[in-house]
């Protein structure tokens, strides 16, 4: 177990470090950010002066070295626009993103697992067919468009819910439903197919042959076996969920990391972009780490080894 934790922690550090390095060079190679946020009529001398101040005129490896040195201490520099600490700005937005992502995750698990189990249990019934059709459509809907439709329906036509902004539970409903839709479809479909797989297994036949009633076959036996692949998929999909959160935050003007990151990208405010990349890569790696531990917990073949 210790072995595993050490190994995975090293992996997280390497992954985050490489991700930051890649983005750092991509940004620097794509051009000088100075010119982009100064007015177009700024003179050459003034631009040079700014480059001097911000340190963009030094060789790339020096800048990189400095960046790494500071980043290790948790310093990603200041926002080129507001001058505030880049990491601080990102961290301040983090709770909002967590709220959105986790409520979406919660909604999707709450709906998809029972739905998938039921569809598998009632295979080929009308309920199953409708569920499968719904998942196919759910996976093809672009989330930003679904967001627009929901805004139009609930905020514009019926004025039931606020269309944008954050701060309350009511504000959370539309964005989290939007974000959850894709995951609901995907998890339902996956739960269903995994359950069908498991229900065909020899050990289910064994349980059946010893007189286990159908209900406990499905709920007690097959579900526990299915949880292993389901947890793996959910962990893998958290990245998609975080990515989707970025888009959804823009649609609903949700004050999260994603929106900040996108605005900074548009403004070329690169310290914030780097801090955002750091946070997202870090969180994502940690989540995968936790998923691996959970996975070992439900799978005795790994635990006992």
């Amino acid at each position: 177990m210790l072995d595993f934790v050490v190994k995975r922690s090293l992996q997280v550090i390497i992954v985050v470090f490489l991700a930051l390095t890649a983005v750092f060079f991509l940004i620097r190679l794509s051009g000088d950010p100075t010119a982009l946020f100064l007015p177009p009529d700024t003179s050459r001398e003034q631009i040079e002066e700014y480059r001097e101040i911000l340190g963009f005129n030094r060789p790339l490896y020096v800048q990189y070295g400095e960046f790494v040195g500071n980043a290790i201490q948790g310093d990603f520099g200041q926002s080129l626009r507001s001058g505030e600490s880049a990491l601080g700005l990102v961290l301040a937005r983090l709770p909002a993103t967590f709220q959105l992502a986790f409520s979406a995750l919660f909604i999707s698990l709450l709906i998809s697992i029972p739905l998938g189990v039921l569809a598998a249990y009632k295979r080929n019934s009308i309920f199953d067919r409708i569920a499968v059709a719904a998942t196919v459509v759910g996976q093809a809907i672009p989330s930003f468009w679904l967001g627009l439709l929901l805004i139009y329906t609930f905020a514009v036509s019926f004025s039931l819910l606020p269309s944008s902004g954050g701060g309350s539970i009511v504000h959370l409903i539309l964005p989290s439903v939007t974000l959850a839709t894709y995951s609901i479809a995907r998890f339902t479909r996956f739960t269903r197919s995994t359950m069908l797989d498991v229900l065909r297994k020899d050990y289910i036949r064994t349980a059946k042959a010893s007189g286990a009633p159908t209900g406990s076959l499905v709920l007690k036996y097959a579900l526990k076996n299915s949880l292993i692949p389901i947890i793996t998929l959910v962990a893998l999909d958290l990245g998609t969920l975080l990515g989707g959160a970025v888009v959804v935050e823009m649609v609903f003007a949700w004050p999260g990391v994603g929106r900040l990151l996108l605005q900074s990208l548009l403004n070329r405010d690169f310290p914030i972009v780097l801090a955002g990349v750091f946070i997202i890569a870090f969180i994502y790696s940690i989540v995968n780490f936790i998923a691996d531990i959970l996975y070992a917990y439900v799978n005795p073949q790994i635990r006992v080894k």
């Binding site: 210790l2 072995d3 595993f4 050490v6 190994k7």
Partner: protein
Amino acid sequence: MSKERLLSVSGLKKYFEISQGMFKPKIVVKAVDDVSFDIYKGETFALVGESGCGKSTTGRTILKLTEPTAGEVLFKEQNIAKLSYETMRKLRSQMQMVFQDPYASLNPKKTIQQILMEPLNVHKKFEPHERLNKIIDILKVVGLSEAHLHRYPHEFSGGQRQRIGIARAVILNPDFIVADEPVSALDVSVQSQVINLMLEIQKKLQLTYLFISHDLSVIQHMTDRVAVMYLGRIVEIANTEELFASPKHPYTQALLSAVPISHPKEKRERIVLEGDVPSPANPPSGCTFHPRCRFASDICKQIAPSAVAFSDTHMATCHLYNLEGEKK
């Protein structure tokens, strides 16, 4: 023995290393541990043993389908254990293999013609325009026909697929064939057809077989000499008739007695072995069979026995006979 030696294996070892993680030592699985035997021209030499005893790995290591960890394999008195892929590749036209699972060993995307053409192309055997006729000939030898040329493996039954596998092995006219459980995936009535085919082409093409199987009745029927393996080592080698008539090693005795009777009226004294085969990653000390052996004594737990010869053709590795020898 005036027979000509075709293959000689000495001190062959194949160890697999399994990584356990960063801070733990690697587990070494001794799949084949110091195996030696000779195979003579024209004979059928059998390796028999239960699953995990290393018989298949021995066969594959001899053909260099996995690299040996140590030891020598002399084929026609040339040591092939250290040959490069390329040099070995050219030698392969003389030594071929028949696999257990005839479906998995045929590329599902290739027609029978393509499958059988490949060895001929690779080794540039026969003139290009003759090759197709050669393929049709060999198909007839194994009991199939020209009509099957353009079919894919999935269109055949298990027995037919094994015929194709055999055709692929013999089309280059090799001297030596390793047959790894060639009939154990087949039904009884098909099994006998394939055994007959193998016996027939052996006579026709003067083949030498290394026949790997767990099925003692098949071994008794079609092989000349047998080596019994247990946990990566050979415990007994003898002529087939000799081995079945008077097995010496306690494991061989138990193995032979475990075979189901062939007639309900037959009465057989059965030696039922206690427990399971230990893991080759952590074999018992001394004689690896001692925890299950009914004759085990103290020496068996400490010292690995050496081979005892009962005749020119029969030897076993067991302390039982060493001790008796000393007493005498």
